[in-house]
């Protein structure tokens, strides 16, 4: 077996939308702790500085206290913002299982507004068609009925 065959296979979540606001305004909502709290979750110890570690608190599961450990990896004002997103526990299955991922925000001009692209990468998966087929079937099923976890998450995040 060569090394290439041993590379872990990962899958990404991508959300890509255009907003009728300037990149500068959107950048602020991504990199200002108080504004982040209003649409993602309240961060703890956040500063948009490379190397800075911060956390989010979410719903605990089993051995996991629900804390997401993040670290700022890249800051290119009004263009690109990247942080590590780690959490979960090895003993959990499904929600709360081990997670070592990266969240990448990319901003680009789109007409009068801004295209904001989120890539949440690093969900480790086995490389095979059967798995992907099952993944995407399960995926679309779940996407169509918001699960209870997401609803609770929703309820626990700050609202204004």
């Amino acid at each position: 077996m060569n090394d290439a065959a041993l590379e872990p296979v990962t899958q990404d979540i991508v959300v890509d939308e255009v907003f009728p606001h300037s990149p500068e305004t959107i950048w602020k909502t991504l990199t200002d702790g108080e504004l982040m709290a209003r649409w993602i979750m309240p961060p703890s110890g956040f500063e948009p500085v490379v190397g800075k570690r911060f956390t989010f608190s979410t719903m605990p599961a089993g051995e996991w206290d629900g804390v997401i450990h993040c670290q700022v990896l890249e800051v290119v004002p009004n263009q690109r913002f990247v942080y590590a997103w780690k959490g979960g526990h090895e003993d959990n299955v499904g929600y709360g299982s081990r997670l070592e991922t990266v969240v990448t925000w990319t901003l680009s001009k789109a007409g009068e507004g801004t295209r904001l692209r989120l890539v949440h990468s690093g969900f480790v998966l086995p490389k095979n068609d059967t798995a992907y087929q099952n993944m995407s079937e399960g995926w679309s099923k779940v996407m169509h009925n918001l699960d209870a976890v997401a609803a609770e998450q929703e309820a626990s995040s700050t609202r204004h």
């Binding site: 979540i13 959300v15 979960g88 059967t130």
Partner: protein, 99 residues
């Protein structure tokens, strides 16, 4: 999915997926590890619900159980939903701060 974090185990799993059914001996060939090691990996994969076994005479045949991947679907779809909702919240917030 700690079960698949080990590269050798992942390779074993992928070979099971790639084959319809496969024996330990076949899995060991070309794997670069001993049959004992392959058996250990199979045990972990079985415990994780990723493979099923079917004894037939003196052989045991292994095949993949895609249902074992449901936990990954669960965790990933949680985030799929989570981020879409966050985008909706962001749209609302931007309207407020930048009418």
């Amino acid at each position: 999915m700690r079960t698949l974090a080990d590269p050798t185990r992942r390779a074993v799993y992928e070979r099971i997926v790639g084959a319809d059914e496969i024996t330990v001996a076949e899995l060991t060939r070309g794997s670069g590890v001993t049959q004992g090691a392959v058996s250990q990996h199979l045990k972990s994969l079985k415990q994780a619900g990723l493979v099923a076994e079917r004894p037939e005479g003196r052989n045991v045949y292994y095949r993949a159980q895609p249902a074992g991947l449901a936990p990954l679907v669960d965790w990933m779809s949680h985030y799929g939903v989570f981020w879409r909702e966050r985008f909706a919240d962001l749209r609302t917030l931007l309207k407020e701060i930048d009418p």
